[in-house]
Amino acid sequence: MNLSDEQVLAMAPDESSRKSGKDLANPAKWVSKGVSESALWGECQGSGSKPYQTQIDTGNMAFKCSCPSRKFPCKHGLGLLLLYSRQPASFTETTPPSWVSEWLSKRAEKEEKKNTTATAAEKQPDTGAQAKRQQARMQKVSDGTAELLRWMKDLVRNGIMDLPEKDPSFFENMIRRMIDAQAPGLAGMMRELADISYFHEGWQSAFMNQLVRIYLVIQGYQHLSALPPALQQDIRTLTGFSTSQEELKEQTGVADTWQVLGKQTTEEDRLVVERYWLHGVHTKRPALILQFYVRGQSTISNALTPGSAINAELVFYPSAAPLRALIKQQVTVPPNHSFSGYAGWQEVVSAQTNISEVLPVYNDQVYTIADLTPIWHAEQWWLQDSRQQLMPVKKTFQHIWKLLALSGGSPLHMAVTGKETLYEPIGVWHEQEYKIL
């Protein structure tokens, strides 16, 4: 295990954990610490009389700590890992103490149990009641979409010129209505509509983009049976119907060595959304792992480390253009720095056309592209491919100087996220190594 500061800190659930983790990456804070082939552990003197016992399963990158924090990983886990990444020599290689080995064996047992008892008898659901509930929900969503469509048509009839002056309740009421209608997906899309910066130039286009996307989902939902089965799943997901993760896990996944290209975190109303972008080394396909948790109450069991690689079986959510996946099994493996990807922007846009053909309401994708050079042109930054074709970099991209420093004017293989004409680099292959930005 050889992690950089950036990789460890990228695992932090929030800024305060990142800061506290850094403070705890200090040998003086740890009463004892040790490392074995599969684990890292330490006892940290906190405010209580007994030190907190922090343990990390380095094989699957899982954390456990006796502290009361509900964050995941907690500051102790981050501090310990950071300390190890900075001063590995200060850790004695030894047999794990009982509190670590017990946890490790429990984890192994649990994993085994999960694999062998998947077929165990479960309580049979009342299918009749389930169908009735499903029917009632479909009706509620249908009523909700009809109301949302009316609202949209009123808006279009009267014009959107006055939108910047509208009271926040203009959107809020309809968002709440979508929640009531059990269409949280549409509520989320409406939230994105409400969050557009109406005082920035170009808000009109951003607004129309999102309005059309909502319209497409409504139309899709209202004509669901006429759509291809895979697209039906996308529309259901976008409306807000969830897919059973347990059922998904029953399916056979795609096994590969997956490079964790990057992580993007967004937060809305205390709900933290973590997007992990993956790339299959052999399958050469992208994947998106989404993790949701309420800020400060993370219960995620496995953390992915940006810049690392995992051997994992991924099950993709049903979709006309499958991207989102869940991890069925994973084992952290040494970083894989091999590159495979598109030769240039032309191939990227062709791939997007293919997605757009089957899924008109697709979201940001991840692409690995060869030989891109950041260049300054017409008062903004662009990424130029080997055929001198350009795509703009998102104006909000924060690491342009790091990217430029790594490039030095020479092309780099790059991992970017985005769609259409806006992209954000998340990592580069620099000197035969993948580096997150």
Partner: protein, 484 residues
């Protein structure tokens, strides 16, 4: 994009005023639009939204990269030095977390000494630190390599780093900070050559740069500079004139210094009975007052004449008294201490010793004075500075800390302990920022005794404990830098 813009125009006005249309469309897009617009049982709003959906999909399915005629980017030249090792980068992360510029300076000094460069990924952070802290610029330039200089072309804030290997190269082609450093180095090695370089480039320099470069001649001040410095008193810039005057005041052979001395020599006389008389004659030369000497005393207990004389004595070289009284240093000091008329001017004599950085007389003064004069401390040898600092700490704690902060070498453990014991009683003054700014002087070995240093007042405990935690981090990072 044009169709999309038309659609937005319709959206802005509203379909009630401007229904959706197919103007400007052609081919399959026109076909689709016509089909939508021809629907009899669909209202205007639905038609608009359907058309918008088609255009949206048309646009996103046909997105193309831009092919523009962009001048090729200048590629950064390859580096000739190696990058620092990953272990050094890990230490750098720790250093940056402390936000101590002095620690970063220590880390950069390590890179200079090891002849290695900052790797590209870390350069933006380091360049930004250099931009915010002038004191780091020369070091950043020395460790940034070609890549830092190249980045400076894109970010004007970072344009202080140009690759230059020799002093002459840095002087000719470097950014201001690099030129100042080059001139400083040369000034120590060859003062005359340093002035010659400056004289040659003088007409081409801007006023700000002139002031910055001229200040270099102050350390050490050289009597050979006097004619050129006096010629600068006619410069237009007030800043330049002030700087030249300040340096001239440090040069005993300068006209100004001689004018000062003439007045003093006329005012203070030793008679044949060994008595000193003090009587200031009327000063008619206005240039004396224009040079910064105050005419009037602001203290009612001090006469204007005494005030003027005090200032003049503190501005002339102390060696002059030996010739004037025909006595050696020790006896001059004794005369000042014994003669009632001279006693008020002892502090002025101390100030003169400090102003002219007269180390020899500073030592004599300390040996023959019963009173401790804090201003003399910086002129003493390093070991004695620490010794006197400890000895007189309780009498002048703040002043001794102030001078201790100017030390070139680390504080002794004893002095550091005294300083921290006092700092614990004044945690709002000697706070985390103070520790950040002076970590270079704080010995790592103090970490072992930090726990025993506690404030007197209970209400300072929390604040002091936070400072100690921060100090612990600084010391740990410092020890890591030292172990590289």
């Amino acid at each position: 994009m044009e169709h999309w813009n038309q659609l937005i125009n319709t959206a802005l006005l509203g379909t009630a005023k401007k229904p959706a249309g197919s103007a400007g469309m052609s081919g399959p897009l026109l076909q689709a639009a016509d089909t939508i617009l021809a629907q009899a049982d669909t209202d205007k709003e639905d038609k608009f939204l359907q058309l918008a959906a088609v255009l949206y999909n048309y646009r996103q399915s046909g997105t193309q990269p831009i092919t523009a005629n962009v001048a090729p980017m200048k590629v950064c030249p390859p580096e000739t030095k190696a990058y620092c090792k990953p272990a050094a980068i890990r230490v750098l992360h720790q250093v940056l977390e402390t936000e101590s510029i002095q620690l970063l300076q220590l880390w950069l000094e390590y890179c200079v000494k090891a002849n290695v460069l900052v790797p590209p990924a870390q350069l933006p952070v380091i360049l930004d630190k250099g931009w915010r802290n002038k004191s780091l610029r020369a070091l950043v330039a020395a460790t940034g390599g070609q890549r830092a200089a190249w980045l400076g072309h894109f970010n004007p804030d970072w344009n202080f780093s140009r690759v230059a290997y020799t002093i002459e190269d840095r002087w000719q082609n470097g950014a201001t900070a690099q030129r100042v450093e080059a001139l400083k180095e040369l000034r120590v090695a060859d003062p005359v050559m340093a002035r010659t370089w400056l004289e040659q480039s003088w007409p081409r320099e801007s006023v700000t740069v002139k002031t910055e470069l001229l200040s270099v001649l102050e350390h050490p001040a050289d009597p050979a500079d006097i004619p050129w410095l006096e010629s600068l008193l006619t410069e237009k810039s007030k800043q330049v004139k002030e700087t030249a005057t300040r340096i001239l005041k440090k040069l005993p052979g300068s006209s100004l210094h001689e004018k000062y001395w003439q007045i003093i020599a006329g005012a203070i006389q030793l008679d044949k009975y060994g008595q000193v008389t003090v009587a200031l004659p009327e000063i008619t030369d206005e240039s004396i007052f224009q040079s910064g000497i105050e005419r009037f005393s602001s203290d009612k207990t001090v006469t204007d004449d005494t005030h003027v004389l005090y200032q003049l004595i503190s501005s002339v070289h102390p060696s002059r008294w030996e010739g004037h009284f025909h006595r050696d240093t020790e006896r001059v000091i004794a005369l000042f201490q014994q003669q009632e008329s001279l006693k008020p001017f002892i502090p002025a004599l101390v100030l003169a010793i400090a102003w002219f950085e007269d180390k020899e007389r500073a030592l004599s003064f300390m040996q023959h004075s019963e009173t401790f004069y804090i201003d003399i401390i910086p002129l003493l040898p390093a070991a004695q500075q620490q010794e006197f600092g400890e000895k007189f700490f309780d009498e002048h704690p703040d002043a001794i800390i102030e001078y201790a902060c100017k030390h070139q070498e680390e504080w002794s453990l004893q002095l550091c302990t005294r300083i921290f014991k006092y700092a614990a009683t004044q945690p709002y003054t000697y706070n985390q920022q103070f520790m950040n700014n002076h970590i270079r002087l704080i010995p790592v070995s103090i970490a072992a005794t930090l726990d025993s240093i506690t404030p007197v007042e209970a209400y300072h405990t929390g604040y002091w404990n936070n400072i100690k935690v921060h100090l612990g981090r600084l010391l740990q990072a410092k020890s890591q830098v030292q172990s590289l």
